[in-house]
Symmetry: C2
Subunit: 201 residues, 2 copies
Amino acid sequence: MAHKPRSEMIAETRRKLVTAARRAFGTVGYADASMDDFTAEAGLTRGALYHHFGDKRGLLEAVIAEIDAEMNTRLCAISAKAGNRWQGFVDECLAYVEMALEPEIQRIVLRDGPAVLGDPSTWPTQNACIGSLTESLRRFADEGTIVAADPEALARLLNGAMLHASLWIANVPDPEATSKKAVQALRTFLDGLLTENRGSR
Amino acid sequence: MAHKPRSEMIAETRRKLVTAARRAFGTVGYADASMDDFTAEAGLTRGALYHHFGDKRGLLEAVIAEIDAEMNTRLCAISAKAGNRWQGFVDECLAYVEMALEPEIQRIVLRDGPAVLGDPSTWPTQNACIGSLTESLRRFADEGTIVAADPEALARLLNGAMLHASLWIANVPDPEATSKKAVQALRTFLDGLLTENRGSR
DNA sequence: TCATTCACATACGCCGCGTATGTGAATGGC
DNA sequence: GCCATTCACATACGCGGCGTATGTGAATGA
């Protein structure tokens, strides 16, 4: 039984570390996750962690990058299967709110991430989600579907609104009912952007 | 020279601790703020801190409560001086975005707060800001100024949008220009809520 | 085959937190 | 006005987590 080549072993080590850290960060949170503990859980030591990721922070970045990539994939799949583009956009927004309800995403990406790494808009990875939002809005604005405004600014506002809606929903006694109200309100906001709903001005 | 009564000394101690902690949290951040350091800076020790606030977390709560109260006062003053109520509401929203640009507010309330204390919607204090937003929206909905939707949900979404706009503005190379774009986009969202701007539906 | 690189493990010291304990000053009843 | 009690803090101790410096064995390449 020949050993795997070195490059594969390295990749496997990185994946083990990211996976173990992801579980730890997602459950007890970044601050309370002991590097000794979750590296041991992965059958490794802190030495491997420092070698590959520099420090705890670097590992968090890698974990977030992974989660963000998954989120982006899921969102693209959703918007792709809609009838028309605006509907796809709306679906994507609603799906984003639902995704942000997942404890792992909420804890790592929405709470600990900003605290440790700073504002998400400065993350290289966050461009994935924000970027596609912006691009969609730009096209809608260009073709007159929505009112004219800076697409990136609209995207940021929308993103913040959705994100906070998720935090709110997840921390309320009755998430089901609250979710309905939030989705309804989000639709209201989005409808307000459509030129066909605007009368004067 | 008679000493001050004990109750005043206690209040003074608490204020000293809160003030010192507020400065430390606002500059180096919660995680990197050494309790030994900033209690010493206040001429005290960690003993006083644990006696009054239980732990570091409790002190953060006190600091946030103080900042939140100040924010609410400032916001009320702004909305009070506007011509009509809707204009006052819009002014308040824009002022909120600007306030959230202040480094101390951003770091303590918007970044470290959620990470350490959990979602702001679960803080007893946050009701100050969210509560007044909700109340305003409820009245606008009742009198038909804005479209019908759950006021609290709208308030949460709005709050999230404004908050993220601030984070975005503060972390961009050119805050001035970005601020203009964000404010413009925020107006777009708010205008979209007005029934007088809605045609069909 | 041997020197080199490199992926990790091991070992050490420091710092920060929480707690248990000590102390002196202010209170309150007689 | 004296004394017991409370209480607001300070001091002392131990523990765990992080970062770094150093060691080691296996894979590479000439």
